[in-house]
């Protein structure tokens, strides 16, 4: 009997190994195809690589003159992020409870919300930004709309995940006491998901700031715009300065948010 089980186990393991082998081989095949398809010009790349020390040398240096602008744009970014996150959190909070399987009052609405969110999330955020800018122009208001829209799609999805994880027990329990829908949500589900929601919120802060920097590349606002301008004017050291600045900020942000997250769940 034990021999049979052992054989079945080994057969299963071999099947998995085979599938894995196929997967890796498939990847290698696609990889080779892709390399050829992209016509990656290795000689030309190596030639450009030779330029690198020269470029890096020109880039070595800090341009202190740009610091005031950087600080101002950072302030702009903070304001944009705070304003858009306010809208994002409120909307996501409402939508997620309306759309989660266990708390949705109307099935059709839940499906609709989930569908719209999936579609918005399928569009890369910068492409969405392009569309919005084409429709309502450049400026701070469109930037906020972009950040809020992307934020709502992402955050709602995260919230829904946590709500559905909470299960149906507490809901059934509260329903049995005759509680209203809002009451069940506020007193039953919300306390359970609060910790998770706060963690998602900190992640969304990081995402939004990252997105707002990328928006600069489109010429919209923020630190990314300074980078883009510096590049177009071939101001090498300025570029380096901005890159370092972005990195330091994102690094500190990530560090700080991690600490906050530990405190939330601690």
């Amino acid at each position: 009997m034990q021999d049979q089980m052992k054989q079945a186990y080994e057969k299963n393991e071999r099947a998995i190994h085979l599938k894995l082998l196929l997967f890796v081989l498939g990847c290698l095949a696609l990889f080779t195809f892709s390399i050829f398809y992209l016509k990656i010009d290795i000689p030309k790349f190596v030639e450009r690589l030779g330029n690198t020390p020269d470029v890096l040398r020109r880039m070595a240096g800090i341009d202190w003159a740009i610091v005031p602008d950087l600080l101002e744009q950072t302030l702009v970014t903070i304001f944009l992020v705070v304003l858009s996150l306010t809208g994002t959190v409120i909307l996501s909070f409402l939508l997620s409870f309306l759309a989660a399987d266990n708390t949705a009052p109307w099935r059709w609405l839940a499906t609709l919300i989930k569908a719209v969110i999936t579609i918005i999330r399928a569009i890369p955020s910068l492409i969405l930004a392009l569309i919005i800018v084409a429709s309502i122009g450049f400026g701070y208001t469109p930037a906020i709309i972009i950040l809020t829209l992307v934020g709502v799609a992402t955050l709602t999805r995260l919230f829904i995940g946590s709500i559905e994880d909470a299960g149906t027990d507490i809901i059934e329990a509260l329903d049995a006491t005759g509680s209203s829908w809002a009451g069940t949500i506020i007193h039953g589900v919300f306390p359970i998901v609060l910790t998770a929601f706060l963690s998602w919120f900190t992640i969304q802060i990081e995402n939004t700031i990252s997105l707002s920097i990328s928006l600069g590349v489109l010429g919209i606002q923020g630190v990314g715009l300074l980078l883009s301008n510096a590049q177009m004017n071939y101001q090498f050291t300025t570029v380096t300065t901005i890159i370092l600045y972005i990195f330091i900020n994102m690094f500190l942000l990530e560090y700080f948010m991690q600490k906050v997250r530990e405190k939330i769940s601690g």
Binding site: K19, L126, L130
Partner: protein, 268 residues
Amino acid sequence: MMEQTAIFNHAVSKEKKNKRRAFVFVFLWMVVAVLGVFYLEISIPELFLAIPQFLSFFATNFFPPDFSSFLDVLDDLVQTIAFAFVAMVFSTLMSLILAMFMAKSVCPWKPVRSVVRAFVSFLRNIPTVIWGSILVYIFGIGVVPGVLALTLALTGFLTKTYADTIDELAGDSLEVMEANGATTLQKIFHGILPAFISSWVNWTLYSFEIGVRASSVLGLVGAGGIGVLIQTRINLFEYQESMALVLYIIVLVLIVDFATSAIRRRIR
């Protein structure tokens, strides 16, 4: 009795402290928000009107989508996937190697771990598009900077994930195996490897998804792919053509989503 009261009081005051903190936080947030409205000179009515304005412009100008350019665009679509794939393979290899130097359970030398951690953090914290524009700046426009940018960004993400997974897995199963008297080789092959592989497949497929979405955007900084096509169409006011392209991307992303879920299920 006194002890119980003390514990109870401590718990209550902790809750009060948390509530107070929450209030302070929300208050400060509101202050910043109001300051922001004034500093950025945002008009609130305009803000609320912007959404219907956007939707109506979008509905009238971007629809119906013009699919006539499909065959021309097919090349770029395939290019987008090829990009993501190449970057995924490169970054998987690099990440596996780097993760070995970053995982606490595999690499006992703290200085090495810290250096790798800092480097990987540098890769990860710079947004992909910024990487793209930096590399295009150094290497010029073309396919290679795009692939490089994607690889660097993905490596940043994957290395940390791999290292965390290795550390997580190392803890539990190793103890169990040691308790059962397994040799080191057995521990690696039957303990860590199987669990790691399924995680690895999972994260690698996810990074491919990220790669497809990022590569469509990298075109905006000249690194190739479909992003630049969309931007050009929009700049030429050819909204309906651009909408078709956006729909292609959506379909592409959804297909990749399904494919990776299917693969994930079959590997299990």
